[in-house]
């Protein structure tokens, strides 16, 4: 396992350092945004004062994360991350589908995709489970809790 003292060409771009970009960018975004709102003063604080303070804190915190903190707790992206990407994509497709064909069909499709392709369940198991679970949720939320769900052509809720 590599340690924090490993020298090498990639030393400055190690994941444990690159992660400092997160707070730096977010803080760097918040400071001008807050300043534009009006900072005021410490006796008459404006709406932007607090976001600016928090933004400055984020930028400052990026420094120790970059220079001091090198815990081995950063996970790099692997082939397995592709599965997560596919999962996120399926969620993004689910929302318009839900609006179009209702919860039961869209939910079944989402569950089937997860059970079959991400969970590697057998086709029959995945199909039965996905239909049963999504119909069950449609009943709970649509009928029992009376949530006005988007139109379902199957008329379940």
């Amino acid at each position: 396992m590599k340690t924090e003292h490993d020298a090498g060409p990639g030393r400055w771009l190690r994941p444990s350092r690159a992660i400092a970009l997160g707070p730096l960018i977010i803080g760097g975004f918040a400071i001008p945004q807050g300043a534009a709102l009006g900072v005021g003063g410490f006796t008459r604080p404006g709406p932007g004062l607090y976001p600016v303070i928090v933004g400055v804190a984020l930028v400052i915190l990026a420094l120790p994360i970059f220079f001091i903190d090198h815990a081995n707790d950063v996970e790099t992206f692997t082939r397995g991350s592709l599965r997560t990407a596919v999962g996120v994509l399926s969620l993004a497709l689910f929302v318009p589908l839900w609006q179009l064909v209702g919860l039961t069909i869209a939910g079944s499709a989402l569950l089937f995709a997860w059970l079959r392709f991400l969970g590697r369940e057998r086709v029959l198991v995945a199909a039965l489970l996905s239909v049963a679970v999504s119909a069950c949720f449609a009943l709970i939320f649509g009928t029992l809790l009376e949530v006005p769900l988007p139109h379902d052509p199957l008329g379940i809720p």
Partner: protein, 510 residues
């Protein structure tokens, strides 16, 4: 102490509806404590939409049951599989799993259940005495003290977490920033909404919590497909011997007191109390070498402390309005949804919630011991449900739950975005708990911060003029100055002790 209030609490808690929900709560809690991959934060976040239609006390009674129920449930997998079901049970794996390896799983589980029961009951009893004076004191706290207190609460959570402190601080700051999105309550101006009108009311905390905890966790699990686990341990003998009971009596007594005390601190909670209890028992043992090799004290003490502290952690929540961990922050949010703001006045404005929840914890603990002692074998069967089945179902219910908040698909998109954020935070080693807690406390902190600046006219100096605020600031500095010392101590202890093998991966932000 007011006896009538407590009796009233029991009257509320013993109402048939509330009895059913406390039972459901501890049952669900134990079940999810057993299931690795679905923690109490995620479960409570997922169940929040269902609580809208409940009476506030019923909702909180059930959610609280899930919380301390999960503390019990987490023990089962720690002992049987060396897999802590939640962070507070990590320490139990050290001796609990070793006991299981030596064929004493039943004894380990029973002593954990007995210890947790005693710890929980002692804590409830002590809570009845401590909560009213603390609430009375809290009324005298003004905006400057409250601003520092919330800051202290957030800071302590970042210090006590399992991840890197710097990253936890950054996560908390990000949470504070997201808390400012939406309309400014002082001037009415829209802040940081980037032209998206749906954000005018800011982010709903349920959306943030479901996304970061629930979906984030599942997306992360999806990457590391864990194979189904099989249980081979047989559980023939359940009850500890008389000798083991005698050995455990001391650790249970000390664990109760220690857990109660730590739970009172903002930022305290299960993880810290169980670690300190373990260290204490090992330090005072005449045979410390047995620790890590199946010492029953190493299970009894931490398990008691962990349950006692998760009960007393309700004191800062119900009296100061300060949630000391992510789960309690969700309970805080659940109350806000019901139109109730937890704080010093809660005891008077909503006595049914305040005393009902406290009394329900005593009843919940009785249910838990009844459930746990005979049903340990049944709970272990839950481990056979694969995450590949549970995860997708949890995702779908999260998305529908987000929609039902305001009946708009915009919130579903937001939940997905926060799910990705939660996933990226886990990849980057950022603890999600400080983020969510800071997000919830942020608006309270900003309001009291700005109020104290305006009302004093002395600017930042107001914090130096008020003794209580100053004392808390000193404490805040001390907490962070103690870090290098602790690191030194920790290093020495690690070098000196013959520590057993730690589990490879432990859930950090559940």
């Amino acid at each position: 102490m007011d006896l009538n209030s407590i009796l009233y609490g029991f009257e509320v808690a013993l109402h048939p509806t509330n009895l059913i929900f406390v039972f459901l709560g501890v049952l669900i809690g134990t079940a999810i404590g057993v299931l690795p991959g679905l923690g109490p934060s995620a479960t409570i976040a997922l169940l929040l939409p269902i609580t809208y239609t409940m009476a506030p006390e019923t909702a909180l009674i059930m959610l609280a049951g899930i919380y301390y129920g999960s503390m019990y449930g987490g023990t089962i997998t720690s002992v049987l599989l060396n897999l802590p079901g939640e962070a507070a049970s990590v320490i139990t794996t050290l001796d609990g799993y070793q006991m299981a390896v030596r064929g004493r799983a039943g004894q380990a589980l029973s002593i954990a259940a007995i210890g947790s029961f005693i710890g929980g009951m002692v804590s409830v009893a002590a809570l009845i005495f401590v909560a009213p004076p603390l609430a009375a004191l809290a009324i005298r706290i003004g905006p400057p003290e409250f601003a520092v207190l919330t800051l202290l609460g957030i800071a302590l959570i970042t210090r006590l977490g399992t991840g890197s402190t710097w990253k936890s601080l950054a996560a908390a700051a990000f949470g504070l920033l997201l808390g400012t999105v939406g309309q400014d309550i002082f001037t009415g101006e829209q802040r940081l909404i980037g032209g998206v009108l749906e954000l005018a009311d800011g982010f709903d905390f349920v959306v943030v919590a479901i996304g970061v905890f629930g979906i984030g966790e599942i997306l992360h699990n999806c990457e590391n497909t864990a194979a189904g686990v099989a249980i081979r341990t047989k559980l023939r003998e359940f009850l500890p011997s008389r000798k083991e009971m005698k050995t455990s009596a001391g650790p249970i007594a000390r664990g109760s007191a220690l857990g109660f005390g730590i739970g009172l601190l903002p930022g305290g909670g299960g993880v810290l109390s169980s670690i300190i209890s373990y260290a204490w028992e090992k330090a005072r043992s005449k045979t410390p070498e047995r620790f890590g090799r199946g010492a029953i004290e190493g299970v009894a003490g931490p398990e008691t402390a962990n349950n006692a502290s998760s009960t007393s952690a309700f004191v800062p929540l119900l009296t100061l309005g300060l949630p000391s961990n992510a789960v309690l922050a969700l309970l805080y949010g659940a109350l806000l949804i019901q139109g109730i703001t937890p704080g010093p006045q809660l005891m008077h404005t909503s006595p049914a919630v305040f005393w009902g929840v406290i009394a329900s914890m005593a009843i919940g603990n009785v249910f838990l011991i009844i459930l746990n002692l005979p049903l340990v074998g049944v709970f272990t069967q839950l481990l056979r449900i694969r995450m590949s089945v549970l995860g997708p179902a949890a995702i779908l219910i999260s998305l529908i739950g987000a929609y039902s908040l305001a009946n708009r698909l915009f919130d579903v998109w937001l939940v997905i975005v926060f799910g990705v954020l939660g996933y990226l935070m886990r990849k980057g080693g950022f603890d999600a708990a400080p983020f969510v807690i800071a997000f919830i406390l942020g608006p309270i902190m900003e309001t009291s911060f700005r109020q104290s600046l305006v009302m004093s006219g002395a600017g930042i100096g107001v914090y130096l003029q008020r003794p209580a605020a100053l004392a808390m600031l000193v404490l805040l500095v001390a907490v962070f100055a103690a870090a290098p010392l602790k690191r030194r101590f920790g290093g020495r202890r690690r070098a000196a002790g013959d520590r057993p093998e730690q589990p490879e991966s432990t859930p950090t932000s559940r």
